[in-house]
Symmetry: C2
Subunit: 343 residues, 2 copies
């Protein structure tokens, strides 16, 4: 018997992480957590939109337009201004700030564009079904890019290289791009902005991809119930009940109260350590504070400082590898290109 | 004799461009026009600063800081905002617009960063001797990035990856970057932003690099005296007399009148077709109009529409090949990183 205990002790010392982790992967999957597929074909199925299929030509053109500030009324703001690919796909300020330095009137924070393709709905109130639809919003919103559809069409149609690229992308020598086409190719580019991480390697079966502390954090994350909202591939992206105002410390920052049913889109936790400040209103700068408040207001559970620290450690494993982006050199304006209007 | 004439006629028909161009290359060089050297070692000598030598480590770090909006007070404006590498190294608006959507108080236009390394002086009033000194200006200017030196130092020192990169770049494990060091590495990156063009191939001896119309444009450019200010490698970048106010159509746009001696830095003509609007005050959007006005106010000569068109054609040959820029993924902020301040 004694020998047996010793043997078990050795197993416990050297093997427990493997045994516990096997269970933990299952547990994570049972909790609805899903990895970014390793296989390109599987990933492609997840990110593609059959109504707007991904092609190399559209990705390249969409990237240019994503970075092109001339789509905005002022000529100074591009999609990348608020969803900056260099800084986790966000702008790092609490309330999105656009045309004429105007903050979002509801004090809404810019959500990251990375992995947004995995969301069920777009925008904090989930009013948009997909990226194609979403991309049309900020370009036209007065406090964001403040452009009209006509402005965008004029810009694109005034630049021969863009016209050529659209014709090529749609294989139609008579193609004349509309505002919707511009949003469509931008959405195609955005569909490629996925960031696989060590967390995915782990869920895909690589035990060693997470450290012991990160695994502990994941376990607490599941046990506390965080995965009841932060699940799926994005660890977020579905509509969930908006925090009850009375209980929520920062409820008074901005006037957003969720959609008409009191629901709010759960933000993704991928790259969360790169996308502060947190919440729909950017009211919280410290991730551990954010974790604790969410436990209290959304789950009715207490998360201790030590537990929040471990969950944060787990979040570190969600920092993903960003796609390689060659900074685009944009085609020159012509005399027909609308002049910027900063007013 | 007749045979001789025929032979000469053939030479004239098939060889005249070669003969005329040989002369034109000499003429261009006599007028002070210089190509970007083909040889890497020669180019390196031109762009390097012995007091701040170019190294791969500094270029890479400088590129990150060039694109990092956190250096600004608001967290929203980077060097690349006004000197956008995607759009000819400029912002495309008449007056540079920065912090709180403030236009440059003198209505000064953002000059391109491409090939700025070849300028004798920096800023429109030439107050800065080099890029290292220049880079310190806009970061601190209230209507631009509006940051203090302390803010910049706090940002950089709060991000471990930046600290590591500085230590590595300066080969000193105890290196603590100052504001000046930040400007220095940004300047090193900027020193690499040169754009060789067909014009350089031509001046370097490749006759076929320019079309007949472009050569005609170059000849008119020299004959009219444009090269008396727009010369050197940059076709600009030296201090020249500011246009006499009375004669200059757009003199009332902004209140800039040159430096204390009435001098203004001649802008580069490289990539000029990508960097509208034109002049220190961005008052002119049409390059042919800009050419004609300059002839009138600076040279006292009339440039016809047909001549301006040919000079414009020549300018097309100055559109250069941009360096390959991988869009940087910036290291995440930490709890010590100053929060953005949009006020």
């Amino acid at each position: 018997m004694k020998k047996m205990t010793v043997v078990l002790g050795v197993v416990a010392a050297f093997g427990i992480s493997a045994v516990a982790s096997d269970t933990l992967i299952d547990k994570a999957k049972q909790a609805g957590l899903k990895p970014i597929p390793e296989k390109r074909s599987e990933l492609y199925k997840l990110i593609d939109n059959p109504k707007n299929p991904i092609t190399d030509e559209k990705v390249e053109l969409g990237k240019k337009l994503y970075f092109d500030p001339r789509l905005s009324k002022s000529g100074l703001i591009s999609c990348n201004t608020c969803h900056n690919l260099a800084t986790g796909g966000v702008d790092g300020v609490d309330a999105a700030t656009g045309h004429k330095w105007t903050a979002n009137p509801h004090h809404l924070n810019s959500p990251t564009v990375y992995n947004a393709v995995f969301f069920d709905k777009q925008f904090w109130d989930g009013r948009s079904p997909d990226l194609e639809d979403q991309a049309q919003g900020p370009i036209q919103a007065t406090p964001e890019m403040a452009a009209t559809k006509e402005h965008v069409e004029q810009v694109v149609r005034s630049i021969p290289e863009y016209m050529k690229a659209f014709k090529h992308a749609y294989n139609d020598p008579k193609f004349v791009p509309t505002f919707k086409d511009v949003a469509d190719v931008i959405a195609v580019f955005e569909r490629t902005l996925v960031t696989p991480s060590r967390y995915d390697e782990y869920l895909n079966g690589c035990e060693k991809a997470l450290t012991a502390e990160e695994k502990e954090g994941l376990k607490i994350f599941i046990d506390k119930g965080c995965a009841s909202c932060h699940n799926g591939v994005a660890l977020g992206g579905t509509m969930q009940p908006f925090p009850v105002a009375g209980k929520y410390k920062y409820a008074n920052v901005g006037d957003f109260k969720g959609d008409k049913n009191g629901m709010v889109k759960t933000p993704t936790l991928r790259n969360i350590l790169e996308t502060r400040p947190y919440y729909h209103n950017g009211a919280v700068w410290d991730i551990e504070e954010a974790i604790k408040i969410m436990g209290e207001t959304q789950l009715g559970v207490k998360i201790s400082d030590a537990e929040a620290k471990k969950i944060k450690a787990f979040f570190g494993a969600l920092t993903g590898k960003k796609p390689y982006v060659r900074y685009p050199m944009l085609p020159a304006s012509t005399e027909k290109t609308p002049k910027p209007d900063l007013d």
